[in-house]
């Protein structure tokens, strides 16, 4: 199941010209507001007809400008989860949920009502009407409704953007479960790097209507050349971590390919594999393994690249086992330590600088 998009469309001051593939898992379309993310997802959904190009899903043509093919919205079988939910106000949750079921072809595999209610924790809401639901509940129902139409793919356009951070935290685990427990491919539009870092398996970065980088999430997020697009404060690598055990003092011990991480207590069982986001601004670099330091995480690394910009800062990309880390330090420090590619250093990370939201749930 692979979505292949190659479209051109006039868009504001510039021309949207986007080509990428979404291989499966969660593919995040990331970019600032006004870079054309929603236009792309609308073109895939069939809400918008691009001026030129071609869109295929597992080889089936959804749109082909040259051949004059544009499959109508209701025949594409793509579950679209909108930013504003768009639940039907005159139907209760149950009728909203089952609305698309009758249109799914008989051979379409997919979860049943009970499975979806379990997955999203909305079984108790079935008799209620959308107007009485909280923002987070609405969005979960909207996701369930899309899933129950047994789509070939889910399209999500900033599904969490209208929610406050507590509600976001409420939904993110469900999206992680969706990613890890179903094999439903998802195209996920977002301008929030923390969401992308939590969820995405692949990332496509858009800027002014063009794809500037696409690839597996770990690679794209640890690419020092993408720091400008991602934002200095938001830039950071993601590493895969296995929970070893919980310590009595409230810390959890994870093992990663390059060593171990002690992080604030995670809501996971020992043995669970998750991903941890380590922001570049939270990583210090030491030449020798520091002693008598309060930071608990000290990882041996090898410097891969250094990137300077116009300002006083630099981005250092390091290899730590099989993972990549990014560190943001000053040019002055880099000079003082004589950092260079190939150099052996230690990355120093305070446990408390890693927020709970930076650790996946499952």
């Amino acid at each position: 199941m692979s979505l292949v998009v190659d479209i051109t469309h006039p868009f504001g001051a510039f021309t949207l010209n986007v080509a990428f593939q979404a291989p499966g898992g969660i593919t995040a379309l990331f970019g600032r507001s006004g870079t054309g993310k929603t236009t792309v997802i609308n073109a895939v959904a069939g809400v918008l007809r691009p001026a030129q190009g071609r869109i295929t899903l597992s080889g089936e043509v959804l749109f082909d400008a040259r051949a004059g093919i544009a499959l109508p919205l209701h025949k594409r079988r793509l579950g679209y989860v909108f930013q504003d939910g768009r639940l039907f106000p005159h139907m209760n949750v149950r009728r909203n949920l089952v609305y698309g079921m009758r249109f799914a072809p008989g051979d379409a595999a997919g979860p049943g009502l009970d499975d979806v209610c379990d997955l999203l924790g909305i079984g108790g809401l079935q008799a209620r009407y959308p107007g009485t639901l909280s923002g987070g509940e609405k969005q979960r129902v909207a996701i369930g409704r899309a899933l129950l139409s047994h789509p070939r793919m889910l399209l999500m356009d900033e599904p969490l953007a209208a929610l406050d951070s507590a509600r976001k935290e409420e939904i993110l685990p469900y999206l992680e479960r969706l990613r890890d427990h179903t094999n439903m491919p998802i195209l996920y539009v977002s301008h929030s790097m923390s969401e992308v870092a939590r969820l995405a398996t692949s990332v496509v970065i858009l800027e002014d209507g063009q794809v500037v980088r696409s690839g597996p999430a770990e690679q794209v997020l640890s690419d020092p050349d993408m720091v400008r697009q991602i934002g200095l404060r938001e830039a950071g690598a993601i590493v895969s971590a296995t929970l070893k055990k919980h310590h009595d003092d409230g810390l959890s011990e994870f093992s990663i390919s390059g060593g171990q991480l002690l992080l604030p207590r995670a809501q996971l069982e020992p043995g669970a594999v998750t991903r941890v986001r380590i922001l570049a601004k939270d990583v210090m670099i030491a030449l020798d393994r520091p002693r008598d330091v309060s930071a608990l995480n000290i990882l041996p690394c090898e410097i891969l690249t250094l990137r300077g910009g116009d300002g006083p800062g630099m981005i250092v990309q390091m290899a730590c086992g099989r993972d990549r880390l990014l560190a943001r330090i000053t040019r002055r420090s880099a000079d003082a330590l004589a950092l260079a590619p190939g150099g052996k250093v230690h990355a120093v990370i305070k446990s408390v600088s890693i927020a709970r939201a930076d650790v996946g749930h499952l």
Binding site: L73, G100, Y129, S149
Partner: protein, 236 residues
């Protein structure tokens, strides 16, 4: 009531109600269709359709009646065909009164329904389509339930207008007691004969009563339909 009203008066009241009900019921599907096309459609001639629908509102009713006579009369283009094909005669029959009333009430009905359709968020219809629903299903399950209050208002407005229709009706189907003499025609007739004021006044009272009942009923229905949506919005 039949004691209080004379047979001719009673006939006029009954005929008017019959004509207005049929006019409302028969024009409702067309009203919804046209309102939907005007609210959501993008096609050439949209303004022409809009103008045509509103024409009876602006034209002198006598002109509309005469145009109906020309097209739907027994020698008219459509009237002749209807009689040949279906044996349906409209001119000088109560069926013609239904047509005249429906045409005259159509602009009001379309306007009310169109406003209701325009108030429905097209994003909801779009969402339904992404779930696999074909357009007609979207209309039946999303649009129609959401415009119900507007639909009721439109129907009641049309009914009230049909009850009061005079000019086009009398021109197209004349004023034959028991056949085409509707309530307004009867009032007009009674006012023309000496000593008819008492009958006319009784019919006036009946008109006022029917109008009030219709208005109240529509208010009640529309409010109930709207409340059903809102209640779901507020209370658990």
């Amino acid at each position: 009531m039949s004691d209080w009203l004379g047979p001719q008066e009673w006939q006029a009241v009954a005929l008017s109600i019959k004509v207005s009900l049929w006019a409302t019921i028969l024009s409702l599907p067309f009203g919804v269709l046209v309102a939907y096309a005007l609210a959501r459609g993008q096609f050439r001639g949209k303004q022409l359709l809009n103008g045509l629908v509103h024409l009876p509102l602006i034209l002198p009713p006598v002109v509309t009646g005469y145009l109906l006579l020309l097209t739907f009369g027994r020698r008219g283009a459509i009237g002749g065909w209807l009689e040949e094909t279906f044996g349906l005669v409209l001119a000088f029959r109560w069926t013609g009164a239904v047509l005249a009333a429906a045409i005259m009430a159509f602009p009001l009905m379309v306007r009310a329904i169109r406003l209701a359709i325009e108030a429905v968020d097209p994003k909801l219809e779009q969402a339904a389509a992404t779930l696999g629903a074909p357009r007609i299903w979207v209309f039946a399950t999303i649009t129609l339930p959401l415009i119900l209050p507007g639909l009721i208002t439109g129907a009641v407005l049309a009914f009230a207008k049909a009850m009061g229709e005079f000019g086009a009706t009398i021109t197209f189907v004349s004023n034959i007691p028991g056949q085409t003499q509707t309530l307004p025609s009867a009032i007009y007739t009674f006012l023309q004969v000496p000593g008819g004021e008492a009958s006319a006044l009784r019919l006036v009272a009946v008109s006022v009563a029917i109008a009030m009942v219709a208005l109240l009923a529509s208010e009640l229905l529309a409010r109930r339909a709207a409340r059903r949506g809102q209640e779901r919005g507020r209370v658990e």
